[in-house]
Amino acid sequence: MDMSGSYRIGAPRQAVWTALNDAEVLKLCIPGCEEIEQTSPTTMTARVVQKIGPVKARFNGAIELLNVNAPQSYTIKGEGQGGVAGFAKGAADVTLSEDGGETVLEFEARAQVGGKLARIGSRLIDAAAKKVARQFFDNFHDHLNGKDPPGD
């Protein structure tokens, strides 16, 4: 499934770019992220818990930054195994443009789930994926505007 969106962030582009490349910031903003570890400048490993209604799955996965064009754009790609639940993977093309001291963040994301999750949850996967993406960018926006997301 595909989704896209645009956010205006009250911070200069360089600051937004730095945050987008900071594992600690990503940990704060990725919904359900329990742990994240930088393994190279462009790769990280992460543990993420996703809860969609009664379904709760813990994904161990890798995050990779591709097509890096500092401080304008990159592609952030994640892929995780959720044990018996199946797998989830997704990627987002993120572009930052300057607009009078503020930054406009635009993203186009694609997400895919497989295994049992997809079979059982097909009724809801799209809505859930959109919600997770929206939460991430809401959290990111709040973080840069000085409001940190709740711990969960």
Binding site: G53, A85, S122, R123, A127
Partner: protein, 264 residues
């Protein structure tokens, strides 16, 4: 396999304590969603706290013109209750149309609203009727209780004890079923009462049950199928999946709104 500890709570305090003590404890009511999910290993709670045996948790009573339905009351009990049929026949009809007979005889009103599945029937009924959810620690109005896809105002250690539903002067519910899952592809509950005219839509919103302002305004001015049919329903923010596009759901909202008014 994974171990799960089963607690049969004797009281609400007992249930709250067990929920707080478990590493990942969940309330078990009818289990029509939770147990099916556990069987698939898509949920593995450390503890299940069964609240069905707690005194006063199930059954329907009245408080003046207010229906008081215990959280562990099954859909079949709500459908068959003389009080519900008298004070709010549309709600009895809603309960009679949930899932299949097996679900209706085990599934509970509290379980349905705590889960807040975006295609469940009860959230639409409670939101349109302006119900109040009573929990182990407070009372929450339906407008504040339902907070989006599978999300409610409930804390992890909070237990729903009952639902209080004011009688409406006019109310109707109509849904278009997804024939395989029996969930609502779109369901519309329209009600008019002391709280004004309220129209709630389930099955269609990307973020779960919602009130439709346009339908409320039209039906508030003229409670008729024609008035409902004259409202343009936008497809923005509606679910799209292999069963129906957002545009198809938008159209169904209009059609179900008309039928809900005709049924009232």
């Amino acid at each position: 396999m994974y171990p799960t500890k089963y607690h049969k709570a004797a009281s609400i305090d007992d249930a709250v304590a067990a929920l707080g003590a478990g590493e990942e404890a969940l309330v078990l009511a009818g289990g029509q969603t939770l147990l099916a999910t556990m069987k698939q290993h898509l949920a593995s709670p450390s503890d299940l706290v069964d609240i069905r045996a707690i005194d006063g948790m199930s059954g329907v009573s009245t408080d003046g013109d207010m229906l008081v339905i215990g959280a562990a009351t099954t859909h079949a009990e709500v459908a068959g209750s003389a009080d519900v049929q008298r004070l709010c026949p549309a709600l009895a009809g809603l309960a009679r149309g949930i899932g299949d007979p097996a679900v209706r005889h085990v599934g509970t009103i509290g379980g349905s609203i705590a889960n807040n599945d975006p295609a469940a029937d009860y959230p639409a009924g409670l939101l349109a009727l302006g119900a109040t959810v009573v929990t182990s620690k407070r009372q929450i109005g339906a407008d504040d209780f339902f907070q989006g896809l599978f999300t409610t105002a409930l804390d992890d250690d909070e237990v729903i004890t009952s639902v209080r539903i004011p009688a409406a002067s006019r109310a109707g519910y109509a849904k278009f079923r997804q024939p395989a899952s029996l969930f609502a592809l779109v369901g519309v509950f329209a009600a008019q009462g002391a709280g004004g005219t309220r129209v709630a839509v389930t099955g269609a919103g990307e973020d779960g049950v919602f009130r439709h302002v346009g339908l409320e305004a039209a039906l508030g001015a003229d409670w008729s199928a024609a008035a409902a049919g004259g409202v343009g329903v936008a497809s923005e923010g509606l679910l799209a999946d292999i069963h129906a596009s957002a545009e198809y759901r938008a159209n169904l909202i209009g059609v179900m709104a008309k039928r809900a008014v005709e049924a009232s």
